[in-house]
């Protein structure tokens, strides 16, 4: 019997497959540690490096408090509006066939492909003092740029697709059968929406809302253009972090950044829970 006959024929390729898998997993873990875990860890460590009292002190300065408040107010306005927009857009796109449907889908997704800075500048060109509607707004004493309305508009634009993009594939997959059966059983439109459609999409909807909320709180590019970054007035939390950093207030910057980081971590946990729920639903 030859040597070849004694060696197990499949051991070599199988061994190489296992080694290759370990290598790929190792590379992914290393990159995750360098690119994601290390910066997040540094933020949390630096924020707490001078003690909890100093951490709270950094967060309780009037400018940072105002920035946190402005970010929360913006989220409280933008998230419900974009939730309603997302449900309506997804409902129309997923449940109906009409002329211009594909165009509507492209428009809903447009903010994903437009740089937030470009969106901010576009709003400036329309609503700014020298913009298209500037003279009209001035004449009627309406202030949109460098004020809350501008920040809300820019945040709405950037986060408009988040809810819709979660719901469109889900609602398309679910089809119209349940709604149709409800209609044949005599349910009217409102009953069908609240008793059939909404329960069917609830986990996907919550997922979209959580992502939309995280993005509104963390949005920087578009808001930096339209807010004017007025200290204590139109600075949102991300803008305040940048300002503190430029002021060489490292402790303050890390403390403020840790708030956004905690929001991101909570979002991640909620996202994982919701993903499991959506998986169960399917």
């Amino acid at each position: 019997m030859s040597m070849v006959a004694h060696s197990p024929p499949s051991a070599g390729p199988a061994r190489r497959l296992v080694d290759g898998r370990r290598l790929i997993i190792g590379i992914v873990l290393l990159l995750t540690a360098i690119v994601i875990i290390a910066p997040v860890g540094v933020i949390l460590i630096q924020a707490g490096s001078q003690g909890f009292g100093a951490f709270l002190g950094s967060l309780s300065t009037s400018d940072t408090r105002a920035a946190i408040g402005l970010s929360l107010v913006t989220a409280l306005i933008v998230v419900p509006i974009n939730t309603l927009f997302g449900i309506a857009a997804a409902w129309a796109i997923a449940k109906f066939r009409f002329p211009g449907r594909k165009l509507l889908l492209a428009i809903v997704e447009l903010p994903f492909s437009v740089s937030p800075i470009v969106a901010g500048i576009a709003y400036l060109f329309v609503y700014g003092g020298q913009g298209l509607l500037g003279p009209f707004l001035d004449a009627h004493d309406l202030k949109i740029m460098f004020a809350l309305p501008g920040i809300v508009l820019a945040s709405m634009f950037v986060t408009a697709p988040f809810v819709a993009r979660e719901l469109i594939p889900l609602m398309t997959l679910q089809g119209n059968d349940d709604e149709e059966v409800a209609a044949t059983l005599g349910a009217h439109g409102r009953q069908i929406f609240f008793r059939v459609t909404l329960p069917n999409i609830r986990w996907g909807l919550l997922y979209g809302i959580v992502l939309c909320n995280a993005r509104v709180l963390g949005e920087f590019g578009a808001v930096s253009i339209v807010s004017g970054s007025i200290r204590g007035e139109t600075n949102t939390l991300p803008l305040q972090i940048e300002l503190l950093y430029h002021d060489y207030n490292t402790a303050g910057a890390f403390a403020a950044a840790s708030v956004l980081t905690l929001v991101a971590l909570v979002t991640l946990v909620v996202k994982l829970i919701l993903e499991a729920r959506i998986g169960e639903g399917h």
Binding site: R97, D177, E180, V181, A183, L185, G186, H188
Partner: protein
Amino acid sequence: MSEQASTLSRPTATKRVPVLRLAGIERHYKEGAGRLNILSGANLSVYPGELVALVAPSGAGKSTLLHVAGLLEKPDAGDVFIDEKPLGELNDANRTIIRRLQIGFVYQFHHLLPEFSALENVMMPQLIRGLSKAEAAKRAAELLSYMRLGERKDHRPSELSGGEQQRVAIARAVANAPRILLADEPTGNLDPTTAHYVFDALAALVRASGLAALIVTHNMDLAERMDRRITLNAGKIVEF
């Protein structure tokens, strides 16, 4: 069930006053720059206690016809009449009420609510209509007994066989004592023996209740057991 069916006469089938009448129904969809004509002047009358089989190839417009007859879609032209009353001018709220009270639907898939028992599924349309729980439960139990499911009324859909599920769906469809029964391949998911058994149950119910039934099927054996067979040809209804 067949014994029950044989003892039931068709008292109103000879009156020749249709329960359901479709007159000159046209339905088309936009397709790119052009227009896709699905129904082009479809006319049909279905009488009390009558079973009409609609046999046509896929894409011929069967589902559209059922949707129009069931007031789920509005025709582009023509009108739907129930007991010779035109329904074209009704608003959505009134169409919903007509659907709830006058029309029953049965699908290829039962679409029963999985969390509820057979009895509760049959009670559901009656509760939507506004009946009390006691009234709804009484009628639901009667219907399930008629469908020979009296012993199974407390079982959930997942605990029932395919034929039993479909018989519960039929009972649910007629729970509000409708005038019309519309069915889209009601036995399409069942093996031939069960299909015949379910059809017997459905036919007996239609004849006993004086319902006007329009039933889409690909099963020619079942179609030949109905009173009339129609098909769609270039958007028009023709008998064969």
